[in-house]
Symmetry: C3
Subunit: 115 residues, 3 copies
Amino acid sequence: MQSVKVVFHIDEVDKWPLLLANVRNLVKAVDLASSHIMVLTNAKAVLAFDGNALLNHIDGIEALAGKKVVFAVCQNSLNGSGMAVDSLPEYVKVVPVGVLTLIEKQADGFAYIKP
Amino acid sequence: MQSVKVVFHIDEVDKWPLLLANVRNLVKAVDLASSHIMVLTNAKAVLAFDGNALLNHIDGIEALAGKKVVFAVCQNSLNGSGMAVDSLPEYVKVVPVGVLTLIEKQADGFAYIKP
Amino acid sequence: MQSVKVVFHIDEVDKWPLLLANVRNLVKAVDLASSHIMVLTNAKAVLAFDGNALLNHIDGIEALAGKKVVFAVCQNSLNGSGMAVDSLPEYVKVVPVGVLTLIEKQADGFAYIKP
């Protein structure tokens, strides 16, 4: 199986089911040990990580985090939604500026996909 | 005229008019013989290829397929919409995992555009 | 601070607040003198530049244009919305085919972000 480098970008809460389906299909088709798969979350999409939110995709997210998918969240967006870093699941990686991470990853050879 | 390598990504049915307008503008501006233009369709956007669907952009799609634009469709998404491969127009290329094709094309130097 | 090359793509009018917030966060985090930040506008998103439009993000746009962010607009899309080039603010750069600019920039090492 092949190795991939990709960053998925999500900024709308209602795109989570589509994004998770995309990533689930991908992890079945690649060599996870040698691949780098990141989901970069900014804007209102960070609300998926709010434990109090009705909309709850945490189960799907956790299953993928367990398969080496990195879930990164924009600090600016957390601030904008009034969410505290220490309320996030442990496996979530907080980055200061989400769009800067999207740029850095692409400069490092990652493909970009916006479901 | 210049040569380009690009993959357009569509995953929502209602984005077909915008996507087709984008591609139509592009094919007028580049050297088609030496260019590689792909439209990668996944998720619910595959319904545009369902002959029975009310929403029918097949004419616009066929005109571009005749100009060397490659229309690729995700097998997982066909399954999810209950569509059979042999119901698709002949010029459609079926790929097993759409997002993997998006990654491979970008790794091969294709630009990515999501209308 | 680091230097970046990125093209943001917008084709829907209602994405302007999100796009401008993204770019505002970015310009605070990078070295503007050595960076190349472009916002490529096509389809209905060009209406933000219509002086008569109710929806008016011109203030936010102008503030960023003053920080070396390049605002490029697709000529085809202006035509489609019945807008004249000479009605645009002076700092706007008109390009003949927006999607071709998106391809050229990526071929030139720019990251692509679609908010």
